[in-house]
């Protein structure tokens, strides 16, 4: 993600609205009401207003924020922003707008960046750079980090720095040891919860892929992983069970990085192992599904461990600006 994208998105929205007349000359613009109207935090709005003022599109009014420049703008006119069509759309890269001021969309992005970095070492997460990167307040940053802390993805060192990594072979093995106990249980509980037609469709996709000649792409592999390890696990009625499984799925991280650095390899073994789980789920055999999944997880762990070792000869890839290497 490019730096400061959020404030640019706000800046572009306001700029466009002013050009189109949606925000006519004289309209008063203040950071807090605008942030509330756009459902984003104040800091990107403040930056966007400053940038628009620098460009002369809006004028600063001491003590009253800003007003839209143009003919007839001699004093700020207060208007109900909720009556005005102001919606942040997806950015040019197709990413969704930050619809909530919350930590939620940022959390996923930060979690993904952390996972991409930790196979290559230990990193410190900077609260300041993270806040500036997303244009969010320190409160939001701390929300994000405390949730990552809850998922055991970051920790605090003795100097109270946020630390992440390394994803060691031992960490991978520890996660696997737990996962092979819990995930088969989740999947066996999910039997009867996932509609039979959906299960049949997932199994059919596997059959077609196994019969097909072409090697799979990484997005296709991700989709097969999601069918079994997300959709079916999430269907387990015990929410705690499903939530516990997710942070343990470190093998997927290793496999995706391996695909990036080395290449996508024949996924035949993985597909066949998945299919066996669905075979058991379709006939309602919980014990069989659990056993088949455990077999798959063990095989996947062997593959991930070998792949992690290959990744270990590389230096860190380009990591996010808010991550800095410790060692």
């Amino acid at each position: 993600m490019k730096n400061h994208t959020y404030y640019r998105m706000v800046e572009e929205l306001l700029s466009r609205s002013i050009a189109q007349g949606t925000l006519p000359p004289g309209t008063q613009l203040m950071a807090s009401p605008l942030a509330e109207r756009l459902s984003v935090s104040r800091s990107p709005v403040t930056r966007a207003l400053k940038a628009l003022a620098d460009r002369g599109v809006i004028l600063e009014v001491p003590g009253q924020g800003y007003m839209v420049a143009g003919p007839g703008a001699d004093r700020p006119v207060r208007r109900n922003l909720h009556d005005i069509d102001l919606t942040l759309g997806p950015d040019p890269d197709g990413r969704q707008a930050p619809v909530a001021p919350s930590w939620e969309p940022i959390l996923d992005e930060v979690a993904a960046q952390v996972l991409n970095a930790i196979p290559f070492g230990t990193f410190m997460v900077s609260e300041t750079v993270l806040g500036a990167h997303f244009g969010v307040s320190r409160t939001v940053v701390r929300d994000v980090l405390s949730r990552l802390h809850g998922q055991r993805m970051v920790r605090k060192d003795r100097q109270s720095h946020w630390i992440t990594g390394p994803l060691s072979a031992r960490r991978l093995a520890d996660a696997h040891e737990l996962r092979r106990q819990i995930e088969p249980l989740a999947v066996s509980c999910a039997i009867g919860q996932v509609p039979r037609a959906d299960l049949a469709a997932m199994r059919e996709r596997l059959r077609a892929a196994l019969a097909g000649p072409a090697p799979l792409t990484q997005p296709q592999i991700d989709a097969f992983e999601a069918d079994l390890h997300d959709t079916c696990v999430a269907a387990a009625p015990n929410r705690l069970l499903a939530d516990t499984v997710r942070p343990l799925q470190l093998a997927h991280v290793v496999n995706r990085l391996f695909a990036t650095y080395i290449g996508v390899h024949d996924a035949g073994a993985m597909l066949a192992e998945h299919r066996l789980v669905f075979d058991h789920m379709l006939i309602g055999d919980a014990g069989g599904a659990a056993a088949a999944l455990r077999f798959h997880l063990d095989a996947e762990h062997d593959r991930a461990r070998a792949r992690l070792k290959v990744l270990s000869i590389f230096d860190a890839p380009e990591v996010a600006a808010y991550l800095s290497r410790i060692h």
């Binding site: 230990t122 994803l167 060691s168 031992r170 080395i262 070998a306 992690l308 990744l311 000869i313 060692h327």
Partner: protein
């Protein structure tokens, strides 16, 4: 053959000295480019860009290159002496020690993994192996008794602080440092070739403590640098056998240790890129078979290495050379190094004895450990200025 594209070969400088490169170019009917790489960059390229080379002289990296599918199976039926390799593999079933890991992950199993069960194709052509330890200068005997048993603990011994050195390579360096830590700190590690995070910490903490006291002169990257350090006054240090032969040739009074804790074993083999096909693959097989003819390994045996098929090597050595290098007998005359220059003095005897005796002293084999990422980071803390 003028228009034949060159066969692109990657390997370490120790495995491909000038004599080998010249002779291969002269004897094979196609051009060859040799790229010597003594660092991790060579391996990074091999696993991430198989199309950039045809042949790779692997060295404790076959599981990485195989996992990355950077190399392709080699058909034994296309290898001169393929049957001898099969026979050697079968003969070692039930055997322990000796040339152990050379055959452990050699054969391509039906499920695509590597294993020891003989099969029609192999991941690498077994080529050479050896055991390494450390070297010490004759002057050491002014500080210790001549009959004190050699020990890896000498690398950390405070009696010669400032006059010790280690190699810079993290994979081998960590193994040697772990051997020295065991001997000097009175601890023992479950698997020296695959240390846990806690054990790595213990070894590196010991290294850093010694470094702060000024124990190590510096570290070296290849055998030339190792020999140079010894010439500059280092008393005890890690040593590759070719470096030792180089020092012998220079007339230095230097000894290769036969440590009571055993030695560090290694093997190096020839692999073919997964991306090589057509007439380049034919050329690759011709190159592999050239290594099977015995002459190249006779050449490298003169720097202390052993060929996987010694009987193919023997006709290319004199009786005196054979008795010294493989038989463990005292040199009955001055013996040459790989370049034909006189090196081994008459009367010298290899520490550890014959081929078989020395290989059975392998305590641990070179290996990328499971925790290599962690090992690398901690090792860098040690070697950083």
């Amino acid at each position: 053959m003028v228009d034949h594209p060159p066969l692109r070969v990657i390997g370490r400088s120790e495995f491909l000295p000038q004599t080998i490169r010249d002779r291969a170019r002269a004897e094979l009917p196609f051009p060859i480019t040799f790229e010597l790489s003594d660092s991790i960059e060579g391996l990074q390229r091999v696993v991430s860009r198989p199309a950039s080379f045809d042949v790779y002289h692997q060295w404790h990296t076959v599981d990485l290159t195989w996992t990355a599918r950077a190399i392709q199976p080699i058909a034994l039926e296309r290898i001169d002496g393929g049957a001898e390799i099969l026979a050697a593999a079968r003969a070692r079933i039930g055997d322990t020690g000796v040339i152990d890991t050379v055959f452990d992950r050699l054969f391509v199993q039906p499920d695509g993994r590597l294993g020891s069960a003989p099969a029609p194709s192999i991941a690498m052509l077994p080529c050479m192996h050896g055991v390494d330890s450390f070297a010490f200068h004759e002057d050491l005997f002014t500080l210790i008794d001549r009959d004190e048993p050699h020990s890896w603990g000498w690398l950390f011994d405070p009696r010669w602080t400032g006059r010790a050195a280690l190699l810079a390579d993290p994979v081998l360096g960590m193994i040697e440092a772990a051997l020295a830590t065991e001997a000097s700190e009175r601890v023992s590690f479950a698997d020296l070739g695959n240390l846990t995070i806690d054990e790595i910490d213990q070894v590196v903490d010991t290294l850093i403590r010694l470094k702060r006291r000024g124990h190590f002169r510096r570290s070296w990257r290849n055998y030339e640098e190792a020999a140079e350090l010894m010439r500059r006054g280092v008393l005890v240090q890690s040593m590759f056998y070719p470096g030792f032969v180089r020092l012998q040739r220079g007339g230095m009074s230097v000894h290769m240790a036969d440590p009571i804790e055993g030695m560090r074993g290694w093997h190096a083999d020839v692999c073919v890129s997964a991306a090589t096909g057509g007439r380049m693959l034919d050329a690759a097989y011709a190159y592999l078979n050239w290594w099977q003819n015995g002459w190249p390994m006779a050449c490298l045996s003169r720097q202390g290495y052993y060929g996987t098929l010694p009987e193919r090597v023997r006709p290319h050595m004199s009786a005196a050379e054979w008795a010294y290098w493989y038989g463990g007998a005292p040199a009955c005359e001055v013996l040459p190094d790989p370049f034909g220059r006189p090196a081994v003095p008459a009367g010298h005897r290899r520490p550890g004895g014959s081929h078989r005796e020395r290989m059975s002293r392998a305590r641990v084999w070179n290996a990328f450990m499971d925790e290599h990422t962690y090992l690398m980071r901690r090792w860098q803390q040690f070697v950083a200025p």
